[in-house]
Amino acid sequence: MPLTLERPDTVEEVRLDAPWSTVVWNDPVNLMSYVVYVFRSYFGFSHAKAERLMLHVHNDGRATVATGSREEMERHVEAMHDYGLWATLEKARS
């Protein structure tokens, strides 16, 4: 009998509150290379993804780099402030 993994088509994540986003803003000080380094080392993004997000920040003035619970996003924002990046959190746009 073949082993089949149960994989429901619709997975609804239960959230106690609305999802939040971590937003990183463009600033004139941080080097592009450093922002890529931060995205790679903290979030574990691939180089390609880190660079894409960095360019988003640079060209659009801001980029959402993570979404999730408010508590989790506050941890990310705190970590970004440790790195000297200008980060904020906001309710995710649905």
Partner: protein
Amino acid sequence: MMGFRCDPPNTLTAQFDPAERQLLRELATQLIALLESAAAPADDPVLARLLPDAYPDDADASAEFRRFTSDGIVDRKVHNARALIASLPEPDGTASVVHLNPAAVSAWLRSLTDIRLATASRLGIVDDDDGMEFLNPTPSSDGLDPLRAIYYWLGSVQQSLVEALSQPSG
């Protein structure tokens, strides 16, 4: 400064002359003094940038966030600045090579960022195009304001550190 290079397995090295070491030591010491002063971010533009509002449209939530996080962030920034100072050879010593292990690299990157943010704030740098000239030095960089020259130099040190990190090691 000669740029950072990767010295396998796990060390980045660079040469700094005595004046450069003294400058880094002074800037890191000033940063520590600012962080350890009891000044509120609302009263100091540098602190406001180092500890930005987490909720731009909600002053209460920002204050709450700061209440729970700022002590830790400040402690870690002070720790990084102290680590940067500790990794500099003694001012009167003959050694001029800085050796950074991965923990020291991480402290340097963050502390250089904090020092650059503080310097940029003092210089009033607000535009993307303002302050990146060190990447394309031009003859007109002569006769720069000294603080601005320091700011460019700090950027080139950090750029060199990030580049050395991304070199394949071994």
